[in-house]
Symmetry: C2
Subunit: 192 residues, 2 copies
DNA sequence: CCTTTTCTAAAACAATCGTTTCAGAAAAGC
DNA sequence: GCTTTTCTGAAACGATTGTTTTAGAAAAGG
């Protein structure tokens, strides 16, 4: 009945995400996007909407992918305490790898304060991570791997807010060892 | 000999800082700035330079002011441990007060990855805070207020990176109690 | 007061912004 | 293979971007 779209939507979103990730929302122009995505602006507006809608789509793509990874990780360990330790170490690895920091955190600071939709999306994503960590911590407590007095929700927030700072520290200092030491120190501090 | 500038430079910088703080570097236009500063763009370029130079001036103004506050605080306590505790609690208060988060942290994520000058400026500011906290921690150790085994530099980095995350958490959740609980938890965890 | 210098206001600058238009190409059902 | 529908490419849209120009106002020293 009608012509079909000539490009892969997910691939296009991935490429747009790369640009937004590097340059931020306001630092990215539609020309930057169409160049990276290798599609015409009319096709872009036709299939994905305007700049803001595209940004939202990228953010959803990013958070969705991260959730999948998170869930896969949770199932790879018998010991919840080991799962937590592995989670923290893996975050440290990602911090060192991502030259531009975490896209969600960058967006939280750049866009969230003036954009309710994005704030809500990121809050929900944050809540997901929070639930994920809380559950692990509760399991660890039940198994006697962590102190019975542990406040799971509080410790989950504590972990989340601590590694957010690692991104800033790494952007400013580019010192991988510093991040790894901080990860090790947090493990000693929190998981007892 | 010649005409004098008709506006107060520091006042103008403060107003520019407010705008940059709320909207970020790329989200702020020169019209936004001249409107808020209530000066003509020719006067602005004449006295402070272009957008990037003005931004740098705002960032220097912000970090300088914060350093002054930091040093005042250090001298207000006899006990270094109490000074640290007060520092952490005060950070929590500031996090809750600043609707847009810390200007330095916002800038670290938005601009630093693509701007060496600003990255260096923020790194130096970070180093200053790091030295400030390290010194306090070392004093606390000497006075027997903290464990002798304490690694002052590491704990300083740990404190800095933890409260960075509070800003993100507060932007997303707007929950003052959560921040205060995290501050209290950090005090219990770190200052023993 | 007059000269010198530097300021300010308004307008204009080219460039780029996000977005739309329009003519035509391409795919699928009949 | 024609029709219908939707896509694509190139060009263009007005608006806004950061910055500069120009004409004139204002301050200070001689």
């Amino acid at each position: 009945m009608a012509r079909t779209v000539a490009f892969d939507l997910d691939e296009a979103i991935e490429k747009a995400l790369d640009v937004f990730w590097e340059k931020g929302f306001h630092g990215t122009s539609m020309r930057d996007l169409t160049t990276a995505m290798q599609i015409n602006s009319s096709s872009l507006y036709n299939s994905l909407g305007d700049k803001h809608q595209l940004f939202l789509e990228c953010l959803r793509y990013y958070t969705r992918k991260r959730r999948t990874l998170l869930e896969q990780r949770a199932n790879a360990f018998d010991s919840p305490r080991e799962a937590l330790e592995s989670f923290i170490n893996e975050v440290a690895e990602v911090v060192i790898k991502d030259a531009n920091g975490c896209f969600a955190i960058k967006t939280a600071f750049e866009v969230s304060p003036n954009d309710r939709t994005i704030q809500t999306l990121l809050r929900d994503d944050n809540d997901f991570t929070h639930t994920f960590l809380s559950t692990l911590i509760q399991s660890a407590v039940k198994k006697g791997e962590m102190a019975a007095s542990t406040n799971a929700g509080l410790v989950a927030d504590y972990i989340i807010s601590t590694y957010t700072g690692w991104y800033e520290l790494y952007i400013l200092h580019k010192d991988p060892l510093k991040i790894k030491k901080l990860a090790q120190f947090m493990i000693e501090q929190v998981l007892h």
